[in-house]
Symmetry: C2
Subunit: 159 residues, 2 copies
Amino acid sequence: MTEGVEWALHCCLNLAWVGPDRAVTATRLAAFHELPPAYLNKQLQPLARAEILTSTPGPRGGFRLAQAPERITLLDVVTAIEGSTEVFRCTEIRQQGPLAGSPELYRDPCLIHAAMQRAELAWRRELAGQNLDDLTVAVSRARPGLPDRVRRWFHEAAG
Amino acid sequence: MTEGVEWALHCCLNLAWVGPDRAVTATRLAAFHELPPAYLNKQLQPLARAEILTSTPGPRGGFRLAQAPERITLLDVVTAIEGSTEVFRCTEIRQQGPLAGSPELYRDPCLIHAAMQRAELAWRRELAGQNLDDLTVAVSRARPGLPDRVRRWFHEAAG
DNA sequence: GATTTCCTACTCGGATACGGTGTGTCCGAGTGAAACTGG
DNA sequence: CCAGTTTCACTCGGACACACCGTATCCGAGTAGGAAATC
């Protein structure tokens, strides 16, 4: 899995602290975790295309959450970065070889593929069951003072 | 995910049909699905290291299942090929940046990491819940005649 | 004919190239705010 | 003082290199079986 997923999740969480009123530039989001700014910008763009973030160019521009945190699931972020293709790619090799008959025999799904799909479905279900708001709640419980400090840091020197 | 996982699963299934009495060469396993023989051999080696298969060199050598099919789970095969590292790599970027304090503050786990771990655990649990024997049973139900034909093909011209 | 020796073909196993994708960087198009000018 | 215009710094967005890992191939080490030679 791409490390862009990790960056995107942390950035979404930070944007959740800041709130939708103020836009945060990719450079500033990168500075918060010491990430390469241009590359982070590149990673955030699929999130904007997926309508998880909104991006505004120009001065006082930047990124902000496009929806309420409770409406953005972890699955949304992951699929935005990694794409919606299954991680296990079934190339249907069962249809190749000396014993492979006519393609009509293979209308029923490949059972190995099906088994992997079940596992992947469980993974997706778990990811879809948690949203950004759950994360903010959990973090504010584990680190009561942190959210305000983060919010203040993003407000300061931002304009 | 590597396509080697798909190959390994199909090969393990075929070896389950053949049974542990006879060894099957990588070349013959490859021919059954029209795969590049040398590369398939390379993919089967981690399975041998993981003691899922046993490999014997020399004439009449090849691969065979090292354990009973019901003792080999899909998770075993996947981790043998892909490794046991988590697919989501937490690089602890929360510890980097201007607001990152001393490392002692980060003894509690990264909550984003924890959330991804939960999803991955669900995935692993689903994979561990199915073994090779389940697959053979399912296939023999969906395609009653297939197992015997596969068995015969691997027996013929093999010695 | 039995036994020992040698040889040969066969198999896995690791070492060696190639290509694609993730990683990282740079520059241009567009925008909004601020400054300047004129009334 | 205020409105209109111009300028300009700032931001995203996509185009351009680099590196690593998955893909693919080849050759050597080791082995088992059989053939040949010997007793």
